[in-house]
């Protein structure tokens, strides 16, 4: 503490009697570190300018872990023709923002190229493809330092930067000190540049997003269409003396589905000619008995017939069962009872 006090000599600034002519050890180290950082910055900037590299702050994490959010990335302007799958590039999106992702595929699009990009942390490629004639190819990145750079570009950061810059200029130009003439000349020249640099720094640092995407599928259903199922083979029964109909063959089967009806037709066995047809069973509950009576009035000639029955939807008659049933019947004149329709062929 005594040594520290020993070095504090007054600067001779009017009204600032306590201002040190030469800063303390800590101050000198900070100034030295700042100067080192300043030289590194200036050299980096000049180097980048010479080879066409642009620094940019990576503001989101979909390229992680290869390029984490908060990195400062260095992208070199590259003709699109030199881009290869696997390169990490930064391109402009349609909305003017910038995206940095890895190239999945390259295909020609006229005299330009269309790039499909995908973030390493994304499961799917970006939905849009980017048609470009040049891209920024990411040559290197430094994790972490994007945070202070981004902060310095914010309004508060710019304010702090301006204040520190102004303080440094004031310090460098303070009257008195050790070797006035030489330094004052150098400082005088530096003031304009320093102030100008501070002003220019108001312009924004380029940021590049590493956009996240997510994809998922909602599977709904299944939606299963109905399959029309054929009825069982009808049961044929000879019934005599039915009112009006007389002696008949009666076909019965169980209703398969309440939505069904049955289209039936009778054909001559010898010629396959259609004799008569109709529908039956509409509106019957599932399991109820469907009845089809074939009387002599329907079948005019004594011969063999085939009764074909096919199930179908009552509402949409084109939806029919793939198979139909065929039941043999015959018309005959029988002793005592006379004309009759009987089950089976003669």
């Amino acid at each position: 503490m005594s040594a520290h006090r020993h070095r504090r000599t007054t600067s001779g600034w009017p009204g600032w009697p306590g201002w040190p002519a030469w800063p303390g050890r800590l101050g000198r180290l900070l100034l030295g570190a700042g100067a080192l950082l300043g030289v590194v910055s200036a050299v980096t900037v000049v180097g980048c300018l010479l080879v066409g590299i642009r620094p940019m702050v990576v503001v989101s994490g979909s390229m992680g872990p290869a390029v984490p959010a908060g990195s400062l990335a260095f992208a070199q302007e590259t003709p699109a023709g030199a881009v290869r799958a696997g390169d990490v590039v930064t391109v402009l999106r349609a909305d003017g923002s910038r995206v940095m992702h890895r190239v999945v595929s390259v295909r020609p699009a006229g005299d330009r190229v269309a790039l499909t990009l995908k973030g390493d942390a994304n499961a799917t490629p970006d939905p849009e493809s980017y048609v470009v004639d040049s891209v920024g190819t990411v040559r290197a990145h430094v994790p972490g330092i994007g945070h202070p750079v981004a902060w310095l570009s914010s309004p508060w950061g710019l304010l702090a930067l301006g204040a520190v810059g102004a303080g440094l200029v004031v310090f460098a130009l303070r009257p008195g000190g050790r070797s006035g003439g030489r330094d004052t000349g150098g400082a005088g020249g530096g003031v304009a540049g320093g102030l100008a640099a501070t002003v220019v720094a108001v312009a924004a640092v380029t940021t590049t997003g590493a956009w996240f995407t997510d994809a998922g599928a909602v599977t709904a259903g299944p939606v299963q269409a109905h399959l029309v199922v054929s009825q069982a083979q009808p049961t044929c029964t000879n019934v005599d003396g039915v009112l009006v109909l007389g002696n008949i063959a009666r076909l019965t089967w169980a209703q398969v589905d309440a939505r069904y009806q049955y289209a039936w037709e009778v054909r001559r066995s010898d010629t396959n000619a259609l004799v008569t047809s109709g529908t039956v069973g509409t509106g019957l509950a599932q399991g109820a008995t469907v009845t089809l009576d074939l009387g002599t009035g329907l079948l005019g000639i004594d011969t063999n017939y085939d009764v074909v029955v096919r199930a179908r939807l009552a509402g949409t008659t084109t939806w029919a069962a793939a198979t139909a049933t065929t039941t043999p019947v015959r018309r005959a004149s029988i002793l005592i009872i006379g004309a009759a329709v009987r089950c089976g062929h003669a």
Partner: protein, 229 residues
């Protein structure tokens, strides 16, 4: 120790001034510090190499993007980075005859920390109910919170209906439909949701060849981070 020695020496600052040989005295160092400012300045200057918009001082986000969907809020599926699939069972219906329909609702939610926008396409898992404009039709209703299903299988009159705004109608095929939403839907903050209602209808003109066919209706959701991070 250093302080003690320093106190005895007439010019102790020179010994401690390690960087002095490289960067000169305080004035020079102060000016060199301004190189940091110049660095930032040139970073922005380089933006003129191409004509582009820049985002000033944007926040750096290390958040997550996660679009989820579920039957209701709080029952999210599709969590985590996709692609993944939620076998929802929504719309499940069997023994459909031409003219019947069914409807169901679900909720899409931003379950990550990044703002997102999403869109969707619709397709069928199989071509079994595809027949031009006579097959299975799917409709999506935006902000559809209620699905009403009436009728019975035996009556062949099952009918589903949705509330909300009809935003998409397509006869499903195994290839993806056009985007369901004309403009991507934004879910700006964590927990933001969007109610959607789905309706599937088998055309009254469905041909008999579709009998027994079965398909799932797949809604492919895709989300992207909203541009300004």
């Amino acid at each position: 120790m250093a302080r003690f020695r320093g106190a005895r020496r007439p010019a102790p600052r020179r010994r401690a001034d390690v960087g002095g040989r490289w960067f000169g005295d305080g004035r020079t160092r102060a000016l060199l510090c301004l190189g940091v400012v110049a660095g930032l300045a040139v970073t922005s200057t380089s933006a003129y190499w191409t004509d582009e918009a820049t985002i000033a001082g944007g926040a750096i986000t290390t958040g997550t993007l996660d679009l989820t969907a579920g039957p209701t809020t709080g029952a999210e599926q599709l969590t985590g980075t996709g692609p993944n699939t939620w076998a929802s069972g929504l719309l499940a219906i069997s023994s459909v005859v031409p003219g019947e329909s069914t409807a169901a609702t679900f909720v899409v939610r931003n379950s990550g920390t990044a703002p997102l926008r999403f869109n969707a396409t619709v397709r069928a898992s199989t071509a079994a109910l595809t027949s031009g404009s006579n097959g299975l039709q799917v409709q999506v209703y935006d902000n559809g919170t209620t699905a009403i299903n009436t009728g019975t299988q035996a009556g062949a009159d099952r009918t589903g209906s949705c509330n909300g705004t009809l935003v998409h109608t397509s006869y499903v095929t195994t290839t993806a439909s056009t985007d369901v939403f004309a403009v991507d839907v934004a879910l700006a903050s964590t927990g933001t949701t969007r109610n959607l209602c789905l309706r599937a209808w088998l055309s009254t003109a469905a041909p008999t060849t579709l009998q027994g066919g079965s398909t799932s209706v797949v809604i492919d959701l895709r989300a992207a981070q909203v541009s300004a991070p």
